[in-house]
Symmetry: C2
Subunit: 198 residues, 2 copies
Amino acid sequence: MYLTPSMAKLVHEFNKLPGIGPKTAQRLAFHILKISATEARVLASAIIEVKDRITNCPICYNITEDSPCSICKDTTRDHGLICVVEQPSDIIAMEKTRVYKGDYHVLQGAISPLDGIRPDNLRINELLMRIQQEKVKEIIIATDSDVEGEATALYLERLLRTMVARVSRIAHGIPIGSNIEYTDEVTLSKALESRRIL
Amino acid sequence: MYLTPSMAKLVHEFNKLPGIGPKTAQRLAFHILKISATEARVLASAIIEVKDRITNCPICYNITEDSPCSICKDTTRDHGLICVVEQPSDIIAMEKTRVYKGDYHVLQGAISPLDGIRPDNLRINELLMRIQQEKVKEIIIATDSDVEGEATALYLERLLRTMVARVSRIAHGIPIGSNIEYTDEVTLSKALESRRIL
């Protein structure tokens, strides 16, 4: 009632974005008012371009503008290694480590019966096809460590055990730089259980 | 390098918005990827529409889609009362009180010699014209209580004193609901200075 119709609409749209409350949405809308029409158009077209240009890689189901994606195409990477993740954003986190040089496979979610997500809603069949067609030496399961991620990891481990020479799960334990004192008991139990002999 | 070109561009554009850091920008960009193309288009067009439709009211310089704005047009409001604010967003805050029933005048900034903003860069001449043309009984100065806002208030008070029957400044003191103990010394000094006789 205090905003003009187009401002109210913009605030409403910004408010739909994750982590943007009504106050931030209003601040963003007033920012859009302040910037030049050209700058606003650049932002608007960036939003539309992302939707127009990005597809999923037909091999690994990561987001890409080329087909196949730059990782699947990269001949310097080890295509015998596949790291299975839930979301494309997980690949960004993995790539930032600069340690991993294998391929990926994006499940596009995790098994979650409560949300109606069963194994056949994920890209698991596509992973099985890759395993049959490519020479896969190892599958690294890097799903999240929440309930859904752990359930998915367990499901994949049982499914793939007989098909691939090695199936592994990324390690869970105390994050680097944190104190034992402030580590939650579940993480600490897991860290004890997974201790390495020195 | 880990994002596709169009995603990198969208993250860059979101990162330009106030209060949106690189992590939030990335989360927002992935959110745009997830929503439908229609929803993305609605957001993009809301951004453009705001720039296309909104102008300044030729009387009070508030943002508006009509000319003059709904407040200046409203015959139930007291047009003899003008509340002077820095920004259109200040009007929203004032209107939310539901107490004020007069008009507004948006300066579009505050005097700030360091940023090169002098009185003639603000809508002060337009305010003087309104005072000459309309029957103004009182000007309420509601600029911010920071250095620039106080300088602007002082400037306006001196300028308008002889032209308008009453020039007032909104009260400064302890915010309702807060403790004396945690009130900063400048606010507390001001609250003491502006004490009301009971």
